[in-house]
Amino acid sequence: MQEFILPANNSEMRLITLLIPLLPFIGFLINGLGNRKLPKGLAGLIGCASVLGSFLLSLYLFFGFEGYGNRPYTTQIFDWINVANLQIPFAFQIDQLSLVMLLLVTGVGSVIHIYSAGYMSHDENFGKFFSFLNLFVFSMLLLVMGANYVMMFVGWEGVGLCSYLLIGFWNKVTPYNNAAKKAFIINRIGDLGFLLGIFLIFITYGSVSYGEVFNQASQLNQVNDGVVIAITLLLFVGAMGKSAQLPLYTWLPDAMAGPTPVSALIHAATMVTAGIYMVIRSNVLYTLAPDTLEFVAIIGLATALFAATIGLFQNDIKKVLAYSTVSQLGYMFLALGVMAYSSSLFHVLTHAFFKALLFLGAGSVIHAMSGEQDLRRMGGLKKVLPITFLTFLIGTLAISGIPPFAGFFSKDELLAHVFVHSKVMWAFGLLTSFMTAFYMFRLLYLAFFGEFRGTEEQRKHLHESPAVMTIPLIILAILSTIGGFMGLPAVFSQNHMLGNFLSPIYELARRAVPSAFEAHHLSHETEYMLMAVSVAVAVVAIILAYMIYGKKKSIPAEEGATLSPLHKLVYNKYYVDELYDAIIVKPVMAMSTGLHRFVEKGLIDPIVNGFGKATLGGGRTLRFVQSGATGSYILMMVLGIALILLLNFII
């Protein structure tokens, strides 16, 4: 029974564990109830302080974890749902994985909250914005801290709701509302898969608590048991929705309708990585189901490649970043698929740093451009926005995988694992990496270099953002620069900090399927070679981008310009939205009208009314029997009596 995760026996720990999600929740309540009544300064302060408080408490837990014996523990708050053998406590679990996620969510969350205080300062619903952000952090914390699958689902749906509320934050604008609705509904498709997965888990293992489920799975199930494959696939459907994988990715680019800090926090750094968290959390199950993992890898790779190609030709600064996010998420799933769980989480972390940085930088640019998001209207911003430019450059270098920035280490480690698994996948991964570097530098050149292409009006307003916005940029830039050192590759150091820290969470999986965890040590030569290749690919891409957009200063074609068919196909995102519209949305809508008109009003209701009509008609016909002629009545009577007597005689 050693594997069971024990409850925390330290009341201080329990209190802190409870306070971490509670603080943002209190912030949500205060800001939500006091929207428009609280002064903006106070609302911002409460919003930021609550998350910052959680961050400090998380740090405390993190550093106290070793003192606690490096042992995971749970904290039960109360019994939530108890029905017969179904016991769902409202409980939190603190282990290595949740600690890392806690730090990520509250850390990056704090930075983005501070940035928002500047970015949203002109909005009348400032308090509402912060209350939603706090609610998001609360839900995200439930997601990563929950001690069972249903708790995870609570957070999972909660972040979906917040995403809905924040994408449609400016709810006067119908397209934004549509984007919000789309995000929620597509997420719900995934959620259904997740929910069914939970049911199957409960039916199979009789519990939904992580400790119990994983313990049983590691002992009972064989590799590639049908039921484990079913569970993992269902859970993965949930992950596809939340983490925007093919074919459920279409909501994420649309989600850019929300305010930019929201895009940074929810749609780049934290919420969309929930799917990856879930797979790592369920690593025992996934390790037992290599077939699912193969599927995950293929989906991840396909998404990475697919989204990257779309990113090549987008002209909206946030859309480029959105597709880049989808693509990077695909990378992470690719890593999960080859069982490089820690590498995937490593990339989650570094990606959170540099993608949040890029989004916030883009926000700064949009802020300066008075809301303009079209790259064709920008250019030459380097001089007016020096801090933004510099930090943005760091972020771009990081995502492109140039050493020594954070993205290089995580991406390199990830690709090395893929290389071990399959050379073909590695090659495609490299291709994605090439495209990533290309479109990111295209973005950089179009926005910051060359001549300014906006209107005179916009030119007058150009200004560097206030300190409350640039300081978060600087913090994230620093993290993007040094973040990679928490996972140095083996050639540089034997001490992979992140990997070592996370190692215990795979213990059960390792015990269940020892063969899967046999180390595939690459020789140092191969490792150097892989690094060199990926850097070289990135550099070539950068040079290419420089040739086209830096030196030749070519600008993407205006709307309506004739494009080559392939270019047009990619520019229009492969018409996937139109395809979904045609094969899903329109048929459902038609079915709605059709069922109502033809089945409801044309079939079922007429049958019901038919009973009434038949009764009326019957009465109308039969009343003629009532002729009024006394003689016929008597005749009937006599015949009736005779019949009765006769029957009496016969029977």
Binding site: N82, G168, V173, K181, F202, V588, L595, D605, G612
Partner: protein, 483 residues
């Protein structure tokens, strides 16, 4: 005595209300409903949740020569539904304070009279008594909808009345048959029905007789066509009574008078019943998407939600049945709240057309929050009441058959589609000339919605309060079914 008091007090109060002239009747009725609520809470406090049998039992001879008794009592299942009734009724009465109906004393007397019927149905332990209250509850709502309803009220209420009476006659026939099967001098007591040993063939047709009666009341696809029309035509209070409480009569009927009485019939036909229910889930939800009248939209969504409850009923799993209990409460609360909000919007804008509205959220933030919470409850967001119920129900259905569970789960997606669609078009966007003058909630309106919102979170956060009440009774019920 408490049960009898709970049943009789509203009827007595109804007579008192009849004596009051003018709009003062609503206050008297509200007071009477509050007294009833206190009685209900008193019963709750004195209730022993560990006991699975009926408490506050009263057993008086009624038609002694025929073995028919006035036997009422409450186990956990009855108690929860009684609590739902006494909780919702004051709110429903309070929600009508904004209207000045003609002949107010009759209107409020009928509402109170209906409560007698409803509580009688939920507590009766004798078949003919049950039938008696079943029809008693129908009469007031017929008059409420027929006298104070919309334009088409006569035709629609007539259809509703005939349809349900048609169904309940099947039930009566089944009861009479069962009555004559009881040994010795016949009796119509529920416990005697539970002890009957009938062969599978008999149980098979008895199942359908009872099922039709209850399915029309719930309503389950394809017996639902009275429902959207009636909901749309009835006055708001009538719609709330119908959807919030009255349709629970059908579900309760299945739980108490069908499943344990004809278990063999259930095992033969449960698949058919669940399939019908699941068709209803998807069918109702898909039709709801394109409705342009808010009330009709909620009516169709109600068909969908009730379909899930019906599916859970026939799974005969503990999760499923407990889900039924929680979801009955949740659905009652959510749907009453939503219909009330629609009534508020209709009163201020003069229309229920979704397309005619927009931007209300800018004018009425308090309303937005209440609407949002109730909507989230209806789409089963975790930590709201709807999630607990749907989670348990879907788990029950999933245990019965995984594929059915998956199809039933579509409600998760489709529910979000129609609800968000309506919410967006009504609340978001720019205001127009209709919604420009929209005002936020008044005090009485808040007094109705705030308790509902609190209940949404109470059930969502701590469903055990209610699950524990019904757990022994549900366990006992399953024992009887599996006897």
């Amino acid at each position: 005595m408490l049960t009898a008091l709970l049943i009789l007090w509203p009827a007595v109060a109804a007579l008192l209300v009849l004596l009051v002239k003018g709009q003062g009747a609503k206050k008297v009725a509200f007071g009477a409903a509050l007294v009833e609520l206190l009685l209900g809470i008193y019963a709750w406090i004195g209730f022993n949740p560990a006991d699975s049998s009926a408490q506050y039992l009263i057993n008086l001879p009624w038609i002694a020569s025929a073995g028919i008794v006035f036997k009422v009592g409450m186990d956990g299942i009855s108690l929860l539904l009684m609590l739902l009734t006494v909780f919702l009724l004051p709110l429903i009465i309070l929600s009508t304070f904004r209207h000045n109906y003609e002949r107010p004393s009759s209107f409020y007397a009928l509402i109170l009279f209906m409560q007698t019927g409803l509580i009688g149905v939920f507590t009766a332990l004798d078949a003919f008594l049950f039938y008696f209250f079943w029809e008693v509850a129908l009469i007031p709502i017929y008059f409420i909808a027929g006298l104070w309803g919309g334009e088409n009220r006569i035709r629609v209420t007539f259809k509703f009345f005939l349809y349900t009476v048609f169904g309940s006659l099947f039930m009566l026939a089944a009861f009479v048959y069962l009555y004559f099967q009881t040994p010795g001098t016949h009796t119509s007591e529920l416990s005697a029905f539970y002890q009957l040993v009938l062969d599978a063939g008999t149980q098979s047709w008895l199942f359908w007789f009872l099922f039709i009666a209850f399915a029309i009341k719930m309503p389950v696809f394809p017996f639902h066509t009275w429902q959207p029309d009636t909901y749309a035509e009835a006055p708001a209070a009538g719609t709330m009574l119908l959807s919030g409480i009255m349709l629970k009569m059908g579900i309760y009927g299945v739980l108490r008078w069908l499943l344990p009485v004809v278990p063999l019939g259930v095992s033969q036909w449960s698949t058919v019943a669940i399939v019908l229910a699941i068709i209803g889930i998807v069918y109702g939800a898909i039709i709801a998407i394109r409705q342009h009248d808010m009330k009709r939209l909620i009516a169709f969504s109600s068909i969908s939600h009730v379909g899930l409850i019906a599916a859970g009923l026939f799974t005969l799993t503990e999760q499923g049945l407990q889900g039924v209990m929680v979801q009955m409460l949740s659905h009652g609360i959510n749907v009453v709240g939503l219909f009330f909000i629609i009534d508020i919007i209709q009163q201020r804008t003069g229309t229920r057309e979704i397309a005619a509205m927009g931007g209300i959220t800018q004018k009425a933030p308090f309303l937005t929050v209440c609407f949002m919470v109730l909507m989230l409850g209806a789409v089963a967001l975790p930590l709201t009441n709807g999630f607990v119920g749907e989670f348990l129900l879907l788990m029950g259905v999933y245990q019965y058959n995984a594929w059915m569970g998956a199809v039933a789960g579509l409600t998760i997606i489709l529910g979000a589609v129609y609800m968000l669609r309506m919410f967006q078009r009504v609340m978001f966007g720019e205001t127009n000339h209709i919604t420009d003058v929209f005002t936020d909630l008044t005090f009485t309106e808040k007094a109705v919605l705030v308790p509902l919102v609190i209940m949404v979170f109470w059930i969502g956060l701590n469903p055990n309060t209610f699950l524990n009440i019904s757990e022994p009774a549900i366990g006992q019920l399953l024992n009887v079914i599996n006897r």
